[in-house]
């Protein structure tokens, strides 16, 4: 608190005691000079004394105000007359020449004193102005560098403390013109402003509290932070004295800079919120469209086909074809539901991996059996090393992973092409490559194929874009990784790596 008080003294006008002291000082200096010059009080050299006194007065004017300087010049003229101009110890001046010199002395002392004081004062003002300009420049620079409301507030508070007395507290609005938040740099310094006063200031956009027309007997002074499009809030500061007249515009500019920076952050945050809402709105629409499409197509098939069978007594061949369509549609629906359930399991974090020893042949057989119809048109090559050890995985989850990857290949690769499934155990991990001879993955999307609901542009096959994100989720649940790449001349390749121990020989 002492530091702050010191700054008060500097910042405010000189106090009354200091004024009296400076008058006293000027009298003392002139008096001392006169005493020191007393040996020269003979008839020959009293003119020299006048020069000495003039010099002293001009010295005084460099560091004392106008009042003490006037006093010094008057006093020196009087003293010179009284002690040095013959006849000594009288105000009487004998020679006309001396009278003239006395008059000139008085005028020179006055003019000299006044001019010097003015120059000094102007210099001081200029220096002060430069200091303020620098402070404002510094503030602007720091504020523009700060990003985020909190950082802006921190910078603002630091700069305010450096250039003004008192620690500020900021009341901020929530974006709907309601003050909701109190921010102080140092919470231990508990400057708890009153929300009521702050709200009044925010509503009326006028300063309030101590030293204002609307004091509300609040010890703090509240200033509105005014922006061009929205007002960020209110700043409260503890001043034992009002802001001096000549500092007012400096203070206002300071606050304006802070307001602008806060406003900038506010608008930025609001824009971001809007962007986020737009994004989630877009995602919702895409999701809604694709889910309703994906659900409706098989349902439409089932409804239409069964309706034909029921109402138009089709030929047995046609009837069996319709039944086949119904069956295919129901498989598609089932797959969709399975994927939706799996993705929500992943999303909710309800995936528990039950690791158990697994014969990889067993896993692959199981998946190939489930995909028998889909794999029919392809030539599938499975490469499993003879000495493939047992590995520890969750059978059910990995079954789904492999199913989704192979199913994916059957959807994109042309009928009759080859699909390769290669398995290896190297470096304490299971590695599986699934390579097809389809069109491959669009290069610019290759990073995104595992994201939820991602569909490549112009994707001809149905689906929600969940299959590969489920693969990624399940593989990551095993602490493994999955990557996608393209192979030459054509085709996509998915590589799974799953860390796994193998049973020690003595175990079996």
């Amino acid at each position: 608190m002492k530091r702050i008080n010191d700054r008060y003294a500097k910042w405010c006008k000189l106090t009354d005691t200091k004024k009296i002291r400076s008058y006293f000082l000027s009298v003392l200096i002139i008096g001392l000079t006169a005493i020191l010059c007393s040996p020269l009080a003979n008839t020959q050299s009293y003119h020299v004394v006048s020069y000495i006194l003039l010099f002293v007065v001009s010295i005084i004017s460099t560091f004392l105000g106008i009042g003490p300087v006037l006093l010094a010049s008057t006093l020196s003229a009087v003293l010179w007359n009284y002690y040095f101009i013959p006849p000594h110890f009288t105000f009487h001046i004998e020679k006309t020449e001396d009278l003239l010199i006395f008059g000139l002395f008085f005028i020179i002392a006055l003019v000299n004193g006044i001019l010097t004081t003015r120059v000094i004062r102007q210099e001081k003002v200029a220096r002060e102005r430069e200091k303020r300009t620098n402070a404002l420049f510094q503030l602007t620079k720091e504020l523009s560098r700060a990003s985020g409301t909190d950082e802006v507030l921190k910078v603002a508070a630091n700069e305010m403390v450096d250039h003004f007395p008192g620690v500020p507290a900021f009341f901020l609005q929530d974006g709907n013109n309601k003050l909701v938040r109190l921010w102080t740099r140092d919470e231990s310094l508990s400057i708890s402003g009153s929300f009521n006063t702050a709200m009044w200031v925010f509503a009326n956009l006028q300063p309030a509290g101590a030293h204002t027309k609307n004091s509300f007997s609040d010890p703090l002074t509240y200033y509105p932070l005014l922006g061009t499009r929205l007002n960020p809030g209110v700043v409260a500061i503890h001043n034992s004295l009002p802001v001096p007249e000549e500092q007012q515009s400096y203070w206002d500019t300071f606050l304006a800079q802070i307001s602008n920076a806060l406003e900038r952050e506010f608008l930025g945050e609001m824009a971001q919120k809007v962007r986020f809402l737009d994004e989630s709105d877009r995602l919702y629409k895409t999701l809604f469209n694709s889910i309703s499409h994906e659900l409706r197509i098989p349902v439409a098939t089932i409804m239409g086909a069964s309706d034909s069978i029921l109402n138009s007594s089709p030929s047995p061949r046609f009837q069996s074809e319709l039944c086949h369509e119904i069956f295919t549609a129901s498989l598609r629906l089932n797959r969709l539901i399975e994927n939706l359930l799996n993705i929500s399991r992943l999303e909710s974090g309800h995936i528990s991996v039950r690791l158990d020893w697994c014969d990889i042949n067993d896993l692959i057989n199981k998946v190939l059996e489930d995909l028998e119809a889909e794999l029919q048109p392809f030539s599938l090559q499975v490469l499993i090393p003879e000495d493939m050890p047992l590995i520890k995985i969750d059978f059910g989850l990995m079954e789904q992973v492999l199913y989704n990857l192979l199913f994916n290949s059957t959807q994109y690769a042309p009928a009759g092409s080859a699909i390769d499934l290669t398995v290896a155990y190297t470096g304490k991990e299971l590695k599986m490559d699934i390579t097809d001879r389809g069109p491959g993955l669009p290069e610019k999307y290759i990073e995104r194929v595992f994201s939820k609901f991602f569909r490549a542009d112009g994707s001809k096959t149905g689906g929600l874009g969940l299959g590969l994100s489920i693969v990624k989720g399940f593989v990551e649940a095993h602490n493994g990784s999955v990557s996608a790449s393209n192979v030459t001349p054509c085709g996509a390749k998915f590589t799974l790596r799953i860390p796994s121990e193998i049973p020690s020989i003595s175990n079996v």
């Binding site: 014969d359 067993d362 175990n507």
Partner: protein
Amino acid sequence: MDGNEVILIIDDELQIRRLLEITLSEKGYKIVMSLNGKEGITDAATHHPALVILDLGLPDMDGQEVLTKLREWYYKPIIVLSVRNSEEEIIKALDNGANDYLTKPFRTGELLARIRAAIRSSDHTGDDAILYFGSLSIDMASHVVRKNNEFIKLTSTEFSLLALLAKNSGRVLTHQYILKEVWGYGYIEQTQYLRVFIAQLRRKIEDNPSRPQLLVTESGIGYRFSE
């Protein structure tokens, strides 16, 4: 070989009941329907069904509880037919005495096959000296296994494993159950033994060991000896 056995269906879903009724009565089975667990237990006692098809999500009590209550006195096959597809739930049902487990949605062909297998194996007293599965014959007394009339050399553990699965043909046996029966209680967690021996057995008895038809894997649950 579908007969006129009575099948009890305990399920509260109208559409599933309709589907089962149409499919099963077309095959000649006589159907008894129960809409909830309590009714199901009473119906099982009064109608002496040859097989029970049980749903787990019943309005009055949990299907697992119905299963436990039925198993206190009912020794005929019970097939659980449920939308619950977690491995925990399936293993629990099998431990509680279910012979088989099918998840909804299911293929009716698959269900009929499971029903046939379950009824047939329950007809057998299990004391047959020789079991025949296609070209495979298993002589329980002399421990001789033949495929296409050719003698197949099996180790004693391999034979115990095969015999256990074959005696329970059509029925899903959990990993833990098989380990306990063949290796003993202390080995219940040692699934790697089971994997290795199943792979060895498949190489010896299957036509195509990479596409097994007899020793079928039930993902994450166990194995079934299929006929």
